[in-house]
């Protein structure tokens, strides 16, 4: 798999020295989207070396940054290719690029155009003016939906290991059927936390992601309980289920803060200080209950 476009200066159409220069990451998807939305126009694209990472993440790391802008402008001899001294950057690149530093170090001024590449045609046609809508970050159902598969794949490895261990333990202690039941319950809770939580985000109660995840996990527990024939279980097992599954879902929904476009690091830290011990506690109590239910 190759997600990278070699960094450098590219032309769309037949640009002249007067035409604008757009700056982007060498994440293939960003580059392709820009080329696609702007096809039929004449302009320059300056692709920065971000090691195949998108603008937002690269800006956070600083690879989409002041230093790389200056380096790429110099390396491509941009000042000899164009007559003007203006670079157009995506707004989400701003956490990495300091406008006044770029100007000081290579003489180019930076304009932050828009958050979404889809707004670029309007921006260019409007005489390069950013409208309030172009500046507003959104987090639509679709935007969340496309993140879910990525998150699932990312969780896959650790979840597979945990699922395997849990399954073997339970199967050894309580038999194969119990093992399979616990396995399905666990995987369901993971999927609930990773997919259902994020998708239902605005409708789940609470501001905190872990609370939202707990609610999603409770819904899953409520669905799973009758399906698995929970009526036949003892009280300890039932309580264990309703404790452990929401805790697992909550963890995965909390993790979605990394993809969300409105949560702050300090907020997530605060949540974690409360949520992680609570989750751990819930899992421990639930395990104790399962063992008690088995041996009492």
């Amino acid at each position: 798999m190759n997600y990278m476009v070699p960094p450098g200066l590219y032309a769309i159409g037949r640009p002249t020295p007067e035409d604008p220069v757009l700056v982007t990451a060498n994440y293939k998807m960003s580059y392709d989207i820009i080329r696609h939305t702007l096809s039929g126009r004449n302009l320059w694209i300056l692709v920065l070396e971000t090691y195949g990472i998108n603008v937002w993440c690269a800006a956070g790391k600083g690879t989409f940054g002041t230093g790389e802008v200056v380096r790429r402008v110099t390396a491509t001899g941009l000042a000899r290719v164009v007559n003007h001294r203006r670079l157009i950057l995506p707004i989400l690149g701003a956490p990495g690029v300091a406008v006044h530093q770029v100007a000081r170090r290579c003489g180019f001024s930076v304009s932050y155009a828009a958050i979404r590449a889809a707004d670029l045609p309007e921006y260019l046609d409007n005489g390069m003016v950013t409208t309030p809508a172009m500046q507003q970050l959104t987090f639509t159902l679709y935007e969340r939906l496309v993140l879910v598969p990525v998150e699932l794949v990312m969780a896959l490895k650790s979840v597979a290991i945990i699922a395997g261990v849990v399954f073997l333990l339970v199967a050894a202690l309580a038999g194969l059927t119990a093992g399979v039941t616990v396995l399905i319950a666990y995987v369901g809770a993971v999927v609930t936390g990773t997919a259902v939580g994020p998708l239902l985000l605005p409708w789940l109660p609470g501001k905190s992601f872990s609370v939202k995840g707990v609610v999603a996990g409770l819904i899953w527990s409520g669905v799973f309980y009758p399906l698995a024939g929970g009526g036949a279980w003892g009280i300890p097992t039932t309580i264990a289920l309703f404790l452990a599954l929401p805790a697992v879902s909550a963890f995965h929904t909390l993790n979605f803060t990394g993809c969300s476009t409105y949560t702050s690091r300090s907020g997530v830290k605060k949540e974690m200080r409360i949520a992680l011990p609570a989750m751990g506690g819930a899992l421990l109590v639930s395990m104790a209950l399962l063992l008690a239910g088995r041996f009492l």
Partner: protein, 96 residues
């Protein structure tokens, strides 16, 4: 952000209004319209909407803004914590 609201009173964003020269750069780069500008001074109109991305602080020419910016996901922070404690961190997490 429209339709979404995160925790109140947690962000580390601070603005030194005395230092501000009213250039308006912070309004341009903020994806959550946290700042407003009146009479050549920026103010934090919606501080709780801040996602601590750091764009305003980095782009303020007079360093009037400070914010503790960084990765905002749980696994990213667990990784950071593990690394601080010199433990091997598992791969994965946001923006990794």
């Amino acid at each position: 952000m429209k339709g979404f609201r995160y925790l109140k009173d947690v962000v580390t964003l601070e603005l030194d209004q005395a230092a501000c020269i009213g250039c308006g750069r912070c309004l341009e780069v903020c994806p959550h319209q946290v700042f407003s500008l009146a009479e050549k001074k920026a103010s934090m109109a919606d501080r709780d909407a801040c996602m601590e991305c750091g764009a305003c602080a980095l782009n303020c020419p007079v360093k009037a803004i400070t914010v503790d910016a960084g990765v905002g996901c749980a696994s990213g922070m667990i990784n950071e914590w593990l690394q601080e404690h010199k433990l091997r961190a598992p791969s994965g997490g946001c923006c990794s």
